[in-house]
Amino acid sequence: MNAAQVNTNPAGLKAAEPPLLDEALSALVDGELDAGELPGLFLKLDQLQPEAMESWHAYQLIGDVLRGEPPLASLVRPSDFLASVRGRLEQEASPLQLMPRANPTGETRYLAAPSAPAANDAVFRWKLVAGLASLAAVMAVSWSVLSSTPRGVGGDASPQIAAVPTGSEPALAASTKSSDPAATAVVVNTGQGTLIRDARLEQLLAEHRQNGGMSALQNPTGFIRNATYESEGR
């Protein structure tokens, strides 16, 4: 095909460049452009922006029509589309508009405008949903805060109500009650009645595991079992 002889710009208003540009663009659309030619093409595009956009739009349209697809590129030119979008953006009230406020001294100070009302404010249903969601969040947070017991000496030793036990000290179903800060006793409900565990007991338990594991099973199982347990009471 004698591509060189096709002249898409019969008016010839510009120099010989546009036809070559159009060829290059068409090759780009077809995926036949050499990688080495890309920088040169983009340089030209920078210079001849609007015409290039027109040609690009035209080629895309041609391609779609040839393929028999409904043109994805609408008949509105992209440059027009972009301009209209920009216009709409400017018209929309932005949340934080900087308004100059005249000051007696002549200085202008900028204040943040009050935020625009939310888009779905008008619909009461969504207000309700938002309210319920925030209420649920507050409840969840306060539940976890209330259920965590005061920490005793030696760290995280006490069992918790709803939360899974820390995993290091297995605790039976617990209800917590702190008698006085020094003792930090924890009342544990078991099948046999209430037991009391305190931080000192946790410490002694750890000491028993370290020094008291005198058993034939200590090596290897006993030692690694104790090492897995040891997380507090030091």
């Binding site: 995993g167 037991l195 007991l201 000491e207 005198m214 090596n219 690694i224 897995t228």
Partner: protein, 363 residues
């Protein structure tokens, strides 16, 4: 042996048949060889069954001591990497284990995967525990790690007197086939154990502590285990020595005897022999914030150990005689004169109460 076909007879018959008849009688010869082959194959299948019978036969069964020694030796000769899960009741803790042994030295590293992160590295009896959250490292020398299996070989070993071993089956744990052994107590002063010992090496891959009526109080099991894994002893040694950024604590333990401290047991609890006794300074344990020393007296019957903690009585803290239970470990509190006694052990609570009742002051 239940099958009676003698193998040599067939071999001879076949050979003589070959010699006398030559190639003409190949088919009957082959049939004979085929029969011989079948018999050999059958005998191959029979021998494992025979061995199985031998294991269940009490005369050939391994005794408690043999099982325990085997389990201990397994860890002395093999290196492995695994993930261990400890579960008691509804709670579970897991840790990653590296173990390496070069005959003389044994090194182990335990990284907790649940709860507060903690790394424990051990070389023989020396143990260092790194606590990243508090940036502290605690260095100790644990006597309990060197006692067995030497104790198993001495005549003072009372384990067979109080426990009996019985093989109950074979199961696959963490990808390894293991023999299930039940070591059950002969009285109700202690707990029983169900141990899964890996078939080839004898390594303990799962251990359950059984309460009365066979309920599982606590379970320690490998969820994955890689035997003969490449664990570098040098790397572990380096890790052990690297305490940069950590505050090193060396708790002071003074080795002593109960008599020296002025305590004795009125009547000993059957099976439990005193193992060791030491005192340690507990800061702030006494009144007015002065550091008082608390004593720990350890008893053991070979498989279970009981610690008696004695500290000066403090009205503020020692309010109530109580009992607690954590997995298989029970504890009992009692006031003895001017002292507060806490008995902790992996034994039933009545046994602990016997200890508590038997302790008395000599001076």
């Amino acid at each position: 042996m239940t099958f009676a076909l003698p193998l040599p007879f067939h071999g001879d018959a076949a050979r003589s048949a070959l010699q006398s008849r030559g190639l003409d009688a190949r088919r009957p010869v082959i049939r004979r060889w085929g029969a011989a082959a079948l018999v050999a194959l059958a005998s191959g299948f029979m021998s494992p069954v025979h061995a199985q019978n031998a294991l269940q036969n009490p005369a050939n069964a391994r005794s408690v001591n043999e099982w325990l020694t085997r389990m201990h030796e397994a860890s002395r000769q093999r290196s492995y990497i695994g993930t261990l899960v400890v579960s008691a009741g509804s709670s579970m803790s897991a840790s990653k284990i590296w173990h390496v042994c070069d005959g003389a030295q044994q090194m182990e590293r335990v990284d907790t995967l649940t709860g507060a992160p903690r790394t424990t590295i051990r070389r023989n009896k020396e143990v260092i525990t790194f606590v990243p959250d508090a940036k502290t490292a605690i260095v100790e020398k644990r006597e309990s790690l060197g006692m067995f299996p030497e104790l198993l070989r001495t005549p003072s070993n009372v384990i067979p007197q109080f426990y009996s071993a019985q093989e109950v089956g074979v199961q696959r744990i963490a990808g390894h086939v293991a023999d299930m052994v039940e070591i059950l107590p002969r009285d109700d002063l202690r707990f029983g154990y169900r141990i899964w010992s890996e078939r080839q090496t004898g390594l303990v891959v799962k251990l359950q502590t059984l309460g009365e009526r066979g309920t599982v109080l606590e379970q320690v099991a490998f969820s994955e285990l890689q035997l003969d894994a490449p664990v570098s002893m040098d790397k572990l040694t380096k890790l052990m020595k690297d305490t940069r950024g950590y505050e090193v604590h060396k708790p002071l333990l003074r080795k002593t005897t109960a008599e020296a401290e002025g305590w004795r047991l009125k009547e000993p609890v059957p099976g439990f022999t005193p193992m060791s006794c030491h005192t340690r300074d507990t800061p702030g344990a006494g009144a007015q914030g002065s550091s008082a020393s608390s004593m720990q007296w350890v008893f053991s019957d070979g498989l279970a150990s009981v610690s008696l903690f004695v500290e000066p009585f403090d009205l503020q803290r020692h309010s109530q005689e109580s009992m607690a239970e954590v997995g298989a470990t029970h504890s009992v509190n009692r006031r003895v004169g001017d002292y507060w006694l806490t008995v902790i052990g992996e034994v039933p609570a009545p046994t602990l109460r016997r200890f508590a009742a038997a302790l008395e002051r000599t001076r």
